[in-house]
């Protein structure tokens, strides 16, 4: 992964490479499966970010989170937020996205002035950070905090939900937790595996999504 082009993929994705460099990178992509894979991963993260525009919180949490993970917050473009990641940030990027969406729900439900970032929780139950995520511990902690917040909302509203619905949600959270555990074990054995990093992040996102969905079912008293 010392490929000199790796750090330019984000610019390429944003259409900001000079013509000559763009052509050179495209030629390089023809022969480099690693760069193609990373580019595909970046595109997915960007697509996920784009799809989440409508769920943006009233207060922008991104600058604070970006500072913590060391990602470069780029200027907003007419098309929406632009994301710039270097390779070590790729896996954490998905976690950050999760945190953003989870934080949005937390803020909306709480109807209070939002802090720049969700409070840090103990992280119990959070998978051991992998090397890729390790450098972005605060993002992982923010994820844990978002999960904890949503679980608290759910726990508080449990009595107001249909028992069948609660059972189904718990069963599906268990399905996701098993998948997270399996992905984590695989990642422990192969920490540099890009697929496992992104798969773990994506599965963790699914847990947040389900918690968010479940939290919206709780009647607001």
């Amino acid at each position: 992964m010392s490929d000199r082009w790796v750090e330019r993929l984000s610019e390429y994705l944003d259409g900001e490479l000079p013509v000559a460099e763009r052509a050179a990178l495209e030629a390089h992509l023809e022969s480099c499966s690693d760069c193609r894979a990373i580019l595909a991963g970046l595109r997915r993260v960007a697509a996920r970010a784009h799809s989440m525009e409508l769920q943006a919180p009233r207060h922008d949490l991104w600058p604070g989170i970006a500072r913590r993970i060391g990602a470069t917050p780029a200027r907003d473009t007419p098309a929406g937020r632009r994301w710039s990641f270097s390779l070590p940030e790729l896996a954490a990027a998905a976690v950050v996205l999760m945190t953003l969406s989870g934080g949005a729900v937390w803020i909306n439900r709480s109807n209070i002035s939002a802090p720049a970032i969700a409070p840090v929780a103990t992280g119990s139950g959070l998978p051991t950070p992998t090397p890729a995520i390790h450098a972005n511990r605060s993002a992982a902690q923010s994820y844990a905090a978002a999960v904890a917040d949503l679980e608290q909302v759910l726990a508080g509203g449990r009595g107001q939900l249909d028992s069948t619905t609660v059972r189904v949600i718990e069963q599906n959270l268990a399905v996701i937790d098993r998948a997270i555990a399996q992905a984590q074990r695989a990642l422990n054995a192969d920490p540099a595996n890009l697929y496992l990093n992104t798969h773990l992040a994506e599965t963790m996102r699914r847990k947040l999504d389900l918690l968010r969905q479940a939290a919206t079912l709780v009647p607001v008293s």
């Binding site: 499966s33 690693d34 997915r44 619905t165 189904v168 069963q171 998948a179 540099a192 699914r206």
Partner: protein, 294 residues
């Protein structure tokens, strides 16, 4: 205009059989909020919305109209939640928003944006044009004959899109995803515990992403398709009905290959399932269809 903007409210209470018709005009959206029951919305060729119910009991059906919407809301006579079966006829051009809890939703023939959300109920939609969002927690979601930006979501059941075109995002946690007879340049299908099947053309320049943790992925690839295909699995298998020109490997059990010009980007990820490429109409494609029909 003031007259148009003034909201007209009609309350139909506690009747054994409700049957009312409200004039509709373009620019209005049909909004249905039904806590429980079977709600059916069918298109007809009149610029009006007809609401019918024959559910016995002490329910209320409230119908209100404004410049931008015709709203139908059901509730028990004293405001408590109740289940009411609704049959609604609406113009095909009318966008529909339907929400419920213990609500099964069936929509037929609407050629406009559709949004349906239910917690414990199935969603079956034939039609839709534009933004289409179908979400159920405990029920299956089935969409056919739609065109536009499609988002289908379930938690605990299967998701199916057939004979549709546009941009497709399909998600479930514990269920299968079937995309069959679809024509889309942008597809994202994601489940945790279930199979994914895609049968449709791979468009030049398109992006197709399929991911499952515990399930198989079957992708139908027509001859002449142009795609850069990235395959990733940790503990699964890869099979192809046709020779695959490997062009590189990725760490783990992942690899990439290019078909034709490689114009489209296809990502296939299964943590511990089989990823399979088949030809349309080939033996495996036929077997898969037969299994589905059983």
């Amino acid at each position: 205009m003031l007259l148009t903007l003034a909201a007209a409210v009609l309350t139909l209470a506690a009747a054994q059989q409700v049957d009312t018709t409200v004039a509709a005009q373009r620019g209005q959206r049909l909004q249905v909020n039904a806590f429980g029951g079977d709600v059916t919305v069918r298109s007809w060729n009149r610029d009006a919305v007809q609401i019918q119910t024959s559910t016995p009991g002490r329910q209320r059906v409230e119908v209100s109209a404004s410049a931008t919407s015709i709203s139908v809301r059901t509730q028990g006579r004293r405001g408590q939640h109740t289940e009411v079966d609704l049959r609604i006829s609406a113009p095909a051009w009318m966008p529909v928003t339907l929400s419920g809890v213990h609500t099964n939703a069936t929509l037929e023939g609407i050629r406009a944006p559709i949004s349906v959300e239910t917690v414990e109920g199935e969603i079956n939609v034939n039609g839709g044009d534009g933004l289409i969002s179908l979400r159920s927690v405990q029920g299956s979601v089935a969409l056919r004959g739609a065109k536009g930006r499609i988002s289908v979501y379930s938690v605990n059941e299967d998701v199916q899109v057939t004979s549709s075109a546009g941009e497709i995002m399909a998600e479930t946690v514990n269920g299968e995803i079937t995309l069959e007879g679809v024509d889309a340049a942008n597809v994202d299908a994601n489940t945790v515990n279930g199979d994914i099947a895609y049968a449709g053309p791979i468009r030049n320049g398109g992006r197709y992403s399929f991911s499952t943790h515990n399930g198989d992925i079957t992708l139908t690839v027509a001859e002449g398709s142009n795609a850069n295909v990235a395959v990733s699995t940790f503990n699964g298998e890869f099979e192809s009905e046709f020779p695959v020109p490997l062009s590189g490997t990725r760490k783990g059990k992942g690899f990439t290959f290019t078909l034709g010009t490689g114009s489209a980007q296809v990502t296939l990820e299964s943590f511990q399932g089989t990823i399979e490429l088949v030809r349309p109409g080939g033996r495996k494609d036929r077997e898969r269809r037969e299994r589905r029909e059983d």
